[in-house]
């Protein structure tokens, strides 16, 4: 299953790119598992996801919690807590 990943703010800066397409590996079912898997993809990912507790996620542009299921997602985004307004 191909999924588009998007990164914002310092998550984007640490990963070094704004977005990418990935093939979801078997056995990765939740947002939390995806973050753990991403952290193992190299130094820049390890740095971006070193503290997954403070990273927020959205599936198809809706906020989700780390335990949210990925099944069916087309676009998953990771970003720091929002600071707009």
């Amino acid at each position: 299953m191909a999924i588009k990943l998007r990164y914002f703010a310092w998550v984007r800066e640490r990963v070094g790119k704004p977005d990418e397409e990935i093939e979801l590996p078997a056995g990765i079912a939740t947002i939390g598992e995806l973050m753990t898997w991403l952290a193992g993809r190299g130094e820049e990912y390890a740095y971006a996801f070193e503290n997954p507790k403070i990273i927020r996620a959205a599936i198809d542009r809706s906020h989700v919690k780390p335990q949210a299921a990925i099944a069916g997602a087309r676009e998953i985004a990771f970003f720091p807590p929002m600071t707009g307004g």
């Binding site: 906020h63 720091p80 707009g84």
Partner: protein
């Protein structure tokens, strides 16, 4: 009567008075209008800044704000509500965003504007980065950290049994 909802996410400046006029035009039911304007200050945590850059998640930002405004219109008897949020680089003194709410009575207009601000602060996908004014070369850029105060403010509006609505 359905509220007239306007949401814009844009780089360009906005005109609060024109937006407010649009909100009340042609209705003699409006008795109260509350506006909030967020402005780029010249300092962040006491240190002078040269500029603020706002990054956002296109598509999600609009949808998220529209969802909040629709919820406000369900909670309070609004005649209209407008939210405009800018992105890009802004210098001190420039407007960042605005909320305007119109209702027959003031309590609804105040509560809805306050609610929208708290949710925008904690749920709308925007991120602020400041450029410090100190030093004349290679200006230091720092991402603004989310404030616990803002989460606490947003939590005021959470409905029982709907913890998904509160800031996490």
């Amino acid at each position: 009567m359905a509220a007239i909802i306007t949401v814009k996410v844009q780089r360009e400046p906005f005109d609060v008075s024109a937006e407010t006029a649009a909100l009340t035009r042609g209705s003699t039911a409006v008795g109260a209008v509350v506006t909030f304007t967020g402005i780029c200050r010249g300092d962040e945590n006491g240190e002078p800044i040269a500029a603020l850059t706002l990054e956002h998640y296109p598509g999600m930002a609009e949808a998220e704000i529209e969802g909040h405004v629709a919820e406000a219109a369900q909670r309070w008897p609004l005649i209209g509500a407008t939210v405009i949020h800018r992105f890009g680089r802004l210098v001190p003194g420039e407007d960042i965003m605005m909320v305007a709410t119109a209702s027959s009575h003031r309590a609804a207009a105040f509560a809805a504007a306050d609610f929208l601000m708290d949710y925008l602060k904690t749920r709308a996908p925007f991120w602020k980065q400041v450029e410090k004014a100190s030093g004349d070369t290679g200006r230091e850029k720092i991402w603004v950290e989310a404030k616990a105060d803002d989460d606490a403010a947003a939590a005021r509006w959470a409905k029982p049994g709907r913890s998904d609505q509160a800031a996490e």
